[in-house]
Protein backbone atom coordinates (compact mmCIF):
# COMPACT_ATOMS: atom_id res chain seq x y z
CA UNK A 1 0.00 0.00 0.00
CA UNK A 2 2.77 2.44 0.91
CA UNK A 3 6.20 2.71 -0.73
CA UNK A 4 8.63 0.27 0.88
CA UNK A 5 10.93 2.75 2.61
CA UNK A 6 8.02 4.79 3.89
CA UNK A 7 6.28 1.64 5.06
CA UNK A 8 9.33 0.67 7.12
CA UNK A 9 9.21 4.04 8.87
CA UNK A 10 5.46 3.72 9.46
CA UNK A 11 5.88 0.24 10.96
CA UNK A 12 8.66 1.47 13.21
CA UNK A 13 6.49 4.33 14.53
CA UNK A 14 3.50 2.05 15.02
CA UNK A 15 5.60 -0.29 17.15
CA UNK A 16 6.69 2.45 19.55
CA UNK A 17 5.02 3.64 22.75
CA UNK A 18 4.00 7.32 22.72
CA UNK A 19 7.04 8.62 24.59
CA UNK A 20 9.48 6.93 22.22
CA UNK A 21 7.39 8.04 19.24
CA UNK A 22 7.82 11.65 20.37
CA UNK A 23 11.56 11.14 20.78
CA UNK A 24 11.85 9.72 17.28
CA UNK A 25 9.81 12.61 15.86
CA UNK A 26 12.17 15.07 17.51
CA UNK A 27 15.12 13.18 16.12
CA UNK A 28 13.62 13.39 12.63
CA UNK A 29 12.83 17.08 13.18
CA UNK A 30 16.50 17.73 14.00
CA UNK A 31 17.49 15.88 10.84
CA UNK A 32 15.11 18.01 8.77
CA UNK A 33 17.41 21.02 8.92
CA UNK A 34 20.02 18.93 7.07
CA UNK A 35 17.66 18.17 4.17
CA UNK A 36 18.28 21.46 2.38
CA UNK A 37 20.19 21.81 -0.89
CA UNK A 38 23.95 21.50 -0.65
CA UNK A 39 26.66 23.32 -2.56
CA UNK A 40 26.98 21.87 -6.03
CA UNK A 41 23.53 20.27 -6.09
CA UNK A 42 21.61 20.70 -9.31
CA UNK A 43 17.89 20.17 -9.66
CA UNK A 44 15.31 19.63 -12.36
CA UNK A 45 12.80 21.77 -10.50
CA UNK A 46 12.96 24.25 -7.63
CA UNK A 47 9.91 25.63 -5.86
CA UNK A 48 10.60 27.95 -2.94
CA UNK A 49 7.70 29.96 -1.60
CA UNK A 50 5.74 31.13 1.41
CA UNK A 51 2.17 29.84 1.33
CA UNK A 52 -0.81 30.84 3.41
CA UNK A 53 -1.04 27.26 4.66
CA UNK A 54 2.34 27.13 6.38
CA UNK A 55 3.99 29.22 9.07
CA UNK A 56 7.18 29.89 7.10
CA UNK A 57 8.86 29.61 3.73
CA UNK A 58 9.43 26.12 2.35
CA UNK A 59 11.68 25.31 -0.59
CA UNK A 60 11.20 21.99 -2.42
CA UNK A 61 13.98 20.91 -4.79
CA UNK A 62 13.52 17.90 -7.07
CA UNK A 63 16.08 15.92 -8.99
CA UNK A 64 14.94 13.08 -11.25
CA UNK A 65 17.53 10.59 -12.49
CA UNK A 66 17.58 9.15 -16.03
CA UNK A 67 15.94 6.08 -14.46
CA UNK A 68 13.17 8.41 -13.25
CA UNK A 69 14.09 8.04 -9.57
CA UNK A 70 13.24 11.12 -7.50
CA UNK A 71 15.49 12.71 -4.91
CA UNK A 72 14.23 15.63 -2.83
CA UNK A 73 15.94 18.40 -0.94
CA UNK A 74 13.78 20.58 1.28
CA UNK A 75 14.68 23.91 2.88
CA UNK A 76 12.58 25.01 5.85
CA UNK A 77 12.18 28.44 7.39
CA UNK A 78 12.78 28.65 11.15
CA UNK A 79 9.11 29.13 12.05
CA UNK A 80 8.02 25.79 10.58
CA UNK A 81 6.50 23.65 13.34
CA UNK A 82 8.41 20.72 14.81
CA UNK A 83 5.97 18.11 13.50
CA UNK A 84 6.24 19.52 10.01
CA UNK A 85 10.02 19.43 10.26
CA UNK A 86 9.85 15.77 11.34
CA UNK A 87 7.55 14.92 8.44
CA UNK A 88 10.01 16.57 6.05
CA UNK A 89 12.86 14.27 7.05
CA UNK A 90 10.56 11.24 7.04
CA UNK A 91 9.29 12.00 3.55
CA UNK A 92 12.72 12.75 2.10
CA UNK A 93 13.86 9.33 3.30
CA UNK A 94 10.62 7.44 2.72
CA UNK A 95 9.96 8.64 -0.82
CA UNK A 96 13.55 8.56 -2.08
CA UNK A 97 13.92 6.65 -5.34
CA UNK A 98 10.23 6.61 -6.27
CA UNK A 99 9.15 7.71 -9.72
CA UNK A 100 7.24 10.98 -10.07
CA UNK A 101 4.07 8.98 -10.78
CA UNK A 102 4.52 7.02 -7.56
CA UNK A 103 5.08 10.24 -5.62
CA UNK A 104 1.75 11.64 -6.82
CA UNK A 105 -0.04 8.48 -5.72
CA UNK A 106 1.22 8.31 -2.12
CA UNK A 107 -1.89 8.43 0.11
CA UNK A 108 -1.84 10.92 2.97
CA UNK A 109 -3.52 8.60 5.44
CA UNK A 110 -0.19 7.39 6.82
CA UNK A 111 0.36 10.66 8.69
CA UNK A 112 -1.68 9.77 11.81
CA UNK A 113 0.03 6.37 11.88
CA UNK A 114 3.38 8.10 12.29
CA UNK A 115 2.43 11.12 14.31
CA UNK A 116 -0.34 9.60 16.39
CA UNK A 117 -3.90 10.81 16.49
CA UNK A 118 -3.29 13.00 19.54
CA UNK A 119 -0.73 15.16 17.77
CA UNK A 120 -2.65 15.59 14.52
CA UNK A 121 -5.21 18.13 15.55
CA UNK A 122 -6.22 21.72 15.22
CA UNK A 123 -3.12 23.87 14.74
CA UNK A 124 -0.91 20.93 13.71
CA UNK A 125 -2.46 20.22 10.33
CA UNK A 126 0.60 21.55 8.52
CA UNK A 127 2.06 18.03 8.84
CA UNK A 128 0.26 17.35 5.56
CA UNK A 129 1.72 20.41 3.85
CA UNK A 130 5.13 19.00 2.89
CA UNK A 131 3.62 15.94 1.20
CA UNK A 132 1.29 18.23 -0.75
CA UNK A 133 4.25 20.29 -1.93
CA UNK A 134 6.25 17.18 -2.93
CA UNK A 135 3.32 15.82 -4.90
CA UNK A 136 2.85 19.21 -6.50
CA UNK A 137 6.40 19.47 -7.79
CA UNK A 138 6.24 15.86 -9.04
CA UNK A 139 3.09 16.76 -11.01
CA UNK A 140 4.81 19.78 -12.53
CA UNK A 141 7.72 17.56 -13.57
CA UNK A 142 5.32 15.06 -15.16
CA UNK A 143 3.46 17.81 -17.01
CA UNK A 144 6.72 19.14 -18.40
CA UNK A 145 7.76 15.64 -19.44
CA UNK A 146 4.45 15.20 -21.26
CA UNK A 147 4.75 18.59 -22.92
CA UNK A 148 8.26 17.79 -24.12
CA UNK A 149 7.27 14.40 -25.53
CA UNK A 150 6.66 14.15 -29.29
CA UNK A 151 2.93 14.32 -30.17
CA UNK A 152 1.33 10.91 -30.07
CA UNK A 153 4.04 9.51 -27.84
Amino acid sequence: MYPEKLNQIIELFESLPDAEKRELLISYASAAMKQGPRDGDTFDLEDERKDEECTDTVGVFLQVSPQRACAFRIKLGPQVQTLTKAMTAILCKGLEGLTPEQITEVPADFVPKIVGADLVRQRSQTVYYILTRMKGIARVWLNRERSAAPHGA
Partner: protein
Protein backbone atom coordinates in the same frame (compact mmCIF):
# COMPACT_ATOMS: atom_id res chain seq x y z
CA UNK B 1 8.83 46.27 34.00
CA UNK B 2 8.03 49.43 35.96
CA UNK B 3 9.76 51.64 33.40
CA UNK B 4 7.00 50.91 30.92
CA UNK B 5 4.37 52.33 33.32
CA UNK B 6 1.95 49.45 32.99
CA UNK B 7 -1.09 49.36 35.27
CA UNK B 8 0.10 46.05 36.73
CA UNK B 9 3.83 45.84 36.07
CA UNK B 10 4.04 42.90 38.46
CA UNK B 11 2.23 40.75 35.86
CA UNK B 12 5.30 40.74 33.61
CA UNK B 13 8.78 39.43 34.24
CA UNK B 14 11.77 39.72 31.96
CA UNK B 15 13.88 36.90 30.60
CA UNK B 16 16.72 38.17 32.81
CA UNK B 17 14.48 37.93 35.87
CA UNK B 18 13.45 34.38 35.03
CA UNK B 19 17.06 33.35 34.45
CA UNK B 20 17.90 34.65 37.91
CA UNK B 21 14.99 32.85 39.60
CA UNK B 22 15.19 29.35 38.15
CA UNK B 23 15.73 27.80 41.57
CA UNK B 24 13.05 29.77 43.41
CA UNK B 25 10.86 27.14 45.14
CA UNK B 26 7.87 29.49 45.25
CA UNK B 27 7.71 29.73 41.48
CA UNK B 28 6.71 27.33 38.77
CA UNK B 29 7.63 28.13 35.18
CA UNK B 30 5.09 26.85 32.65
CA UNK B 31 5.63 26.60 28.89
CA UNK B 32 2.52 26.61 26.69
CA UNK B 33 2.90 26.43 22.93
CA UNK B 34 1.08 26.03 19.69
CA UNK B 35 3.89 23.79 18.38
CA UNK B 36 3.03 20.67 20.30
CA UNK B 37 6.55 19.21 20.28
CA UNK B 38 8.47 22.42 20.92
CA UNK B 39 8.80 21.88 24.68
CA UNK B 40 10.26 18.41 24.00
CA UNK B 41 12.97 19.90 21.79
CA UNK B 42 14.25 22.03 24.69
CA UNK B 43 12.82 24.30 27.37
CA UNK B 44 13.77 26.55 30.25
CA UNK B 45 15.37 24.56 33.04
CA UNK B 46 12.77 23.50 35.57
CA UNK B 47 9.81 24.48 33.42
CA UNK B 48 6.81 22.20 32.98
CA UNK B 49 4.64 21.85 29.89
CA UNK B 50 0.93 22.59 30.01
CA UNK B 51 -0.86 21.97 26.74
CA UNK B 52 -3.84 24.15 25.81
CA UNK B 53 -5.77 21.23 24.38
CA UNK B 54 -4.90 18.06 26.28
CA UNK B 55 -4.38 19.66 29.71
CA UNK B 56 -6.70 22.67 29.88
CA UNK B 57 -9.69 21.60 27.80
CA UNK B 58 -12.32 18.98 28.42
CA UNK B 59 -11.59 16.14 26.02
CA UNK B 60 -15.21 15.58 25.02
CA UNK B 61 -17.20 18.80 24.99
CA UNK B 62 -15.87 22.19 23.93
CA UNK B 63 -15.14 23.63 27.36
CA UNK B 64 -12.47 23.74 30.00
CA UNK B 65 -11.62 21.18 32.63
CA UNK B 66 -13.48 21.29 35.94
CA UNK B 67 -12.05 22.53 39.26
CA UNK B 68 -11.06 19.05 40.42
CA UNK B 69 -9.23 18.36 37.17
CA UNK B 70 -7.54 21.74 37.42
CA UNK B 71 -6.38 20.99 40.96
CA UNK B 72 -5.02 17.61 39.81
CA UNK B 73 -3.21 19.29 36.89
CA UNK B 74 -1.61 21.77 39.26
CA UNK B 75 -0.63 19.15 41.80
CA UNK B 76 1.10 16.91 39.28
CA UNK B 77 3.07 19.94 38.06
CA UNK B 78 4.12 20.87 41.58
CA UNK B 79 1.80 23.87 41.77
CA UNK B 80 0.02 24.71 45.01
CA UNK B 81 -2.55 27.44 45.64
CA UNK B 82 0.17 29.87 46.72
CA UNK B 83 2.64 29.10 43.92
CA UNK B 84 3.43 31.96 41.56
CA UNK B 85 3.16 30.66 38.02
CA UNK B 86 5.28 32.21 35.26
CA UNK B 87 3.98 31.46 31.76
CA UNK B 88 5.93 31.64 28.52
CA UNK B 89 5.62 30.10 25.07
CA UNK B 90 5.83 30.41 21.32
CA UNK B 91 3.87 32.72 19.00
CA UNK B 92 4.66 35.81 21.11
CA UNK B 93 3.03 34.21 24.14
CA UNK B 94 -0.42 33.51 22.61
CA UNK B 95 -0.78 30.21 24.44
CA UNK B 96 1.01 31.44 27.54
CA UNK B 97 -1.64 34.16 27.84
CA UNK B 98 -4.33 31.59 27.11
CA UNK B 99 -3.04 29.30 29.88
CA UNK B 100 -2.77 32.26 32.25
CA UNK B 101 -6.36 33.21 31.43
CA UNK B 102 -7.53 29.65 32.16
CA UNK B 103 -5.66 29.71 35.48
CA UNK B 104 -7.55 32.92 36.28
CA UNK B 105 -10.84 31.14 35.50
CA UNK B 106 -10.00 28.93 38.46
CA UNK B 107 -9.13 31.87 40.68
CA UNK B 108 -5.35 31.43 40.55
CA UNK B 109 -4.21 35.05 40.66
CA UNK B 110 -0.48 34.62 41.27
CA UNK B 111 0.32 34.54 37.58
CA UNK B 112 2.85 36.33 35.37
CA UNK B 113 4.00 36.34 31.76
CA UNK B 114 7.65 36.24 30.71
CA UNK B 115 7.82 39.22 28.37
CA UNK B 116 9.00 38.24 24.91
CA UNK B 117 8.21 34.58 25.47
CA UNK B 118 10.19 31.70 24.09
CA UNK B 119 11.35 33.67 21.05
CA UNK B 120 13.18 36.23 23.19
CA UNK B 121 14.70 33.58 25.46
CA UNK B 122 16.03 31.71 22.40
CA UNK B 123 17.15 34.91 20.65
CA UNK B 124 19.22 35.77 23.71
CA UNK B 125 20.82 32.33 23.43
CA UNK B 126 19.80 31.42 26.95
CA UNK B 127 20.10 27.85 28.10
CA UNK B 128 17.49 25.26 27.08
CA UNK B 129 17.38 21.74 28.42
CA UNK B 130 15.55 18.57 27.39
CA UNK B 131 15.49 17.32 30.99
CA UNK B 132 11.91 17.08 32.24
CA UNK B 133 11.72 18.18 35.88
CA UNK B 134 9.99 16.13 38.52
CA UNK B 135 8.49 17.84 41.51
CA UNK B 136 6.95 16.75 44.73
CA UNK B 137 3.21 16.92 44.10
CA UNK B 138 1.75 20.25 45.12
CA UNK B 139 -1.26 20.55 47.35
CA UNK B 140 -4.06 22.32 45.55
CA UNK B 141 -7.46 22.97 47.07
CA UNK B 142 -9.82 23.25 44.10
CA UNK B 143 -12.09 26.26 43.89
CA UNK B 144 -15.78 25.50 44.31
CA UNK B 145 -16.57 26.65 40.79
CA UNK B 146 -14.88 27.93 37.68
CA UNK B 147 -15.32 31.72 37.55
CA UNK B 148 -16.59 32.00 34.00
CA UNK B 149 -18.68 35.08 34.65
CA UNK B 150 -15.86 37.54 35.31
CA UNK B 151 -13.41 37.10 32.46
CA UNK B 152 -15.14 34.79 29.98
CA UNK B 153 -17.90 35.68 27.52
CA UNK B 154 -20.26 33.27 25.80
CA UNK B 155 -22.14 33.66 22.53
CA UNK B 156 -25.24 35.24 24.07
CA UNK B 157 -23.14 37.75 25.96
CA UNK B 158 -21.13 38.66 22.88
CA UNK B 159 -24.41 39.07 20.97
CA UNK B 160 -25.79 41.30 23.71
CA UNK B 161 -22.57 43.32 23.67
CA UNK B 162 -22.97 43.77 19.91
CA UNK B 163 -26.66 44.73 20.09
CA UNK B 164 -26.00 47.23 22.86
CA UNK B 165 -23.22 48.89 20.87
CA UNK B 166 -20.69 48.07 23.57
CA UNK B 167 -16.99 47.50 23.01
CA UNK B 168 -16.04 44.43 20.99
CA UNK B 169 -12.48 43.93 19.85
CA UNK B 170 -11.75 41.58 16.96
CA UNK B 171 -8.06 40.68 17.23
CA UNK B 172 -7.81 38.59 14.05
CA UNK B 173 -6.00 39.65 10.92
CA UNK B 174 -7.62 42.40 8.82
CA UNK B 175 -8.49 39.94 6.03
CA UNK B 176 -10.31 37.68 8.50
CA UNK B 177 -12.13 40.69 9.94
CA UNK B 178 -13.27 41.81 6.49
CA UNK B 179 -14.49 38.31 5.70
CA UNK B 180 -12.11 37.90 2.78
CA UNK B 181 -10.65 34.72 4.26
CA UNK B 182 -12.04 32.15 6.65
CA UNK B 183 -8.68 30.99 7.92
CA UNK B 184 -5.84 32.58 9.79
CA UNK B 185 -2.88 33.65 7.63
CA UNK B 186 -0.32 30.82 7.49
CA UNK B 187 -2.82 28.22 8.69
CA UNK B 188 -5.22 25.77 7.08
CA UNK B 189 -8.97 26.26 7.25
CA UNK B 190 -10.27 25.43 10.70
CA UNK B 191 -13.83 24.76 9.73
CA UNK B 192 -15.68 28.06 9.58
CA UNK B 193 -18.63 28.37 7.21
CA UNK B 194 -18.98 32.16 7.11
CA UNK B 195 -16.47 35.00 7.09
CA UNK B 196 -16.76 38.49 8.54
CA UNK B 197 -16.99 39.91 12.03
CA UNK B 198 -19.44 40.50 14.86
CA UNK B 199 -21.47 43.64 14.07
CA UNK B 200 -19.95 46.69 15.73
CA UNK B 201 -16.58 45.06 16.49
CA UNK B 202 -13.42 47.12 16.08
CA UNK B 203 -10.47 45.52 14.33
CA UNK B 204 -7.33 45.60 16.46
CA UNK B 205 -5.08 42.70 15.42
CA UNK B 206 -3.34 41.19 18.46
CA UNK B 207 0.05 41.85 16.93
CA UNK B 208 -0.40 45.59 17.31
CA UNK B 209 0.47 45.11 21.00
CA UNK B 210 3.94 43.63 20.53
CA UNK B 211 7.29 44.70 19.17
CA UNK B 212 9.42 42.73 16.74
CA UNK B 213 11.12 40.92 19.62
CA UNK B 214 7.69 39.73 20.90
CA UNK B 215 7.83 41.96 23.99
CA UNK B 216 4.84 44.17 24.75
CA UNK B 217 4.85 47.78 23.60
CA UNK B 218 5.00 50.47 26.27
CA UNK B 219 1.93 52.01 27.84
CA UNK B 220 1.80 55.11 25.66
CA UNK B 221 1.88 53.06 22.47
CA UNK B 222 -0.79 50.69 23.83
CA UNK B 223 -3.03 53.62 24.79
CA UNK B 224 -2.67 55.06 21.33
CA UNK B 225 -3.64 51.75 19.71
CA UNK B 226 -6.55 50.76 21.94
CA UNK B 227 -7.87 54.13 23.09
CA UNK B 228 -6.94 56.81 20.55
CA UNK B 229 -7.37 54.59 17.48
CA UNK B 230 -9.87 51.88 18.52
CA UNK B 231 -11.88 54.12 20.81
CA UNK B 232 -11.79 52.10 24.02
CA UNK B 233 -12.17 53.95 27.28
CA UNK B 234 -10.92 52.88 30.71
CA UNK B 235 -13.80 51.48 32.73
CA UNK B 236 -15.64 50.14 29.70
CA UNK B 237 -16.85 46.55 29.50
CA UNK B 238 -14.86 44.98 26.68
CA UNK B 239 -15.23 41.62 24.93
CA UNK B 240 -12.31 40.37 22.82
CA UNK B 241 -12.45 37.49 20.36
CA UNK B 242 -10.45 35.77 17.61
CA UNK B 243 -10.98 32.24 16.22
CA UNK B 244 -10.63 29.93 19.22
CA UNK B 245 -9.69 32.33 21.98
CA UNK B 246 -5.91 32.24 22.08
CA UNK B 247 -5.05 35.47 20.27
CA UNK B 248 -7.83 37.21 22.18
CA UNK B 249 -6.30 35.89 25.44
CA UNK B 250 -3.22 37.87 24.47
CA UNK B 251 -5.30 41.02 24.00
CA UNK B 252 -7.25 40.25 27.20
CA UNK B 253 -3.90 40.22 29.03
CA UNK B 254 -2.88 43.54 27.47
CA UNK B 255 -6.16 45.26 28.35
CA UNK B 256 -6.41 43.74 31.84
CA UNK B 257 -2.86 43.82 33.14
CA UNK B 258 -1.01 46.39 31.06
CA UNK B 259 -3.75 48.98 30.53
CA UNK B 260 -5.59 48.15 33.76
CA UNK B 261 -9.12 47.67 32.38
CA UNK B 262 -11.25 45.98 35.02
CA UNK B 263 -14.03 44.44 32.94
CA UNK B 264 -12.53 42.57 30.01
CA UNK B 265 -13.90 39.23 28.92
CA UNK B 266 -12.47 36.77 26.43
CA UNK B 267 -15.07 35.23 24.10
CA UNK B 268 -13.26 31.92 23.59
CA UNK B 269 -16.00 30.46 21.41
CA UNK B 270 -14.87 33.20 19.03
CA UNK B 271 -15.24 33.00 15.27
CA UNK B 272 -15.27 29.21 15.08
CA UNK B 273 -18.53 29.41 17.03
CA UNK B 274 -19.95 32.65 15.62
CA UNK B 275 -19.10 31.92 11.98
CA UNK B 276 -20.79 28.52 12.16
CA UNK B 277 -23.82 29.50 14.22
CA UNK B 278 -27.12 29.46 12.37
CA UNK B 279 -28.62 32.93 12.33
CA UNK B 280 -25.66 34.73 13.94
CA UNK B 281 -25.52 38.29 12.54
CA UNK B 282 -22.38 39.04 10.53
CA UNK B 283 -20.91 42.24 9.20
CA UNK B 284 -18.46 42.46 6.32
CA UNK B 285 -16.45 45.52 5.45
Amino acid sequence: MSEKNYAHPEALVSTEWVAAHLADPHLRIVESNEDILLYDTGHIQGSVHIDWRSDLQDQTIRDYINPQQFAALCERNGISNDTTVIFYGDKSNWWACYALWVFRLFGHTKVKIMDGGREKWVAEQRHLTRAVPHFVHGHYTPPETRSDSEIRAFYDQALAQSRAGMALIDVRSPAEFRGEVTHMPEYPQEGVLRGGHIPGAASVPWKMAVKDDSTFKDISELRQIYEDEAGLKPGQDVVAYCRIGERSSHTWFVLTYLLGYKNVRNYDGSWTEWGNRVGAPIERS
